[in-house]
């Protein structure tokens, strides 16, 4: 028997959640892009979701200037951005809120999930997804800066 989450439009729920956090909560203009145009990804905010039948890792990838723009939006200005920790903490909090929004939507679809604490990585790195997982990638332009949102997820007990 198929998973109750199989009917989820993962790309749509990630886009709705991303817009809910940035447009609705922080009044930041969000434009969806056809393809990522980010040359040098340098910062990633991540949060995990795990349930009985569905789990995944949400990631917000961006450049340092983009992370600065997002942090300024959360903090209400650039006064506190001399402290680099405030920029990475902002990206972590953004991942936390994005995870909370996705969780609500997945829960509403009938599959309860829990979310992890957020993490932030900085620097150049490669990611390799686990075998059997699916990757959904969405690119957005946020207040002039490009941001890549990835959701690596897996439906369990699939036929």
């Amino acid at each position: 028997m198929g998973n109750v989450c199989q009917g989820l439009d993962v790309a749509a729920l990630v886009e709705e959640s991303f817009r809910e956090v940035l447009e609705t909560m922080f009044a930041l203009p969000v434009e969806k892009l056809d393809s990522p145009t980010i040359d040098e990804l340098a910062v990633v905010g991540m949060i995990g979701l795990a349930g009985k039948e569905f789990h995944g890792l949400l990631q917000i990838h961006c450049t340092q200037p983009a992370a600065r723009v997002l942090a300024a939006a959360l903090l209400g200005g650039e006064e506190m951005l001399d402290d680099p920790a405030m920029i990475s903490d902002s990206l972590g909090e953004l991942a936390n809120m994005l995870g909370g929004s996705v969780k609500q939507r997945v829960d509403s679809a009938g599959n309860k999930v829990e979310i992890s604490l957020p993490s932030v990585l900085e620097g150049q790195f490669e990611t390799h997804d686990a075998r059997g997982s699916e990757r959904t990638e969405l690119a957005f332009r946020v207040d002039g800066q490009d941001v890549l949102v990835c959701f690596v997820h897996e439906f369990k007990n699939e036929e």
Partner: protein, 124 residues
């Protein structure tokens, strides 16, 4: 009369987000003080701070939000305490309510949602 608010969250960023949202929500808010976890929040209450309303995260180090609510109630503090968290679901709401929380705001939230949830406790 303006209400003094205690924000309890281990994220300094989230405390700034909440402070800004409170100021934008059109509520009559006085002083806003901050604590990084439940232990710090209890210490602030016990030191005699004039707090009319508490907004608390759920997941925090040292003492989480629900334990903080339960401890605050056991010590006789009766001001409204609202959970602001990514936790959701009827079981979580029941757990927080049983501990003594007066309300639940899910993150992400809008200033309107904040105003709606706090309107019954804070003068506009």
């Amino acid at each position: 009369m303006a209400m003094n608010v205690l924000l309890v969250d281990d994220s300094a960023v989230m405390r700034k987000v909440l402070t800004r949202a409170l100021r934008q929500a059109g509520l009559d808010i006085g002083d806003i003080v901050e604590a990084g976890d439940g232990v710090e929040a209890l210490n602030m209450l016990e030191s005699g701070g004039n707090v009319d309303l508490v907004l608390s995260d759920w997941n925090m180090p040292n003492m989480n939000g629900v334990d903080f609510v339960a401890q605050a109630r056991s010590k006789g503090y009766e001001m409204p305490i609202i959970m602001v968290t990514t936790e959701s679901g009827d079981d979580r709401i029941a757990q927080a309510t049983q501990a003594g929380a007066n309300g639940f705001i899910h993150k992400p939230f809008t200033p309107d949602r904040l105003a709606e949830a706090l309107g019954q406790f804070a003068a506009v």
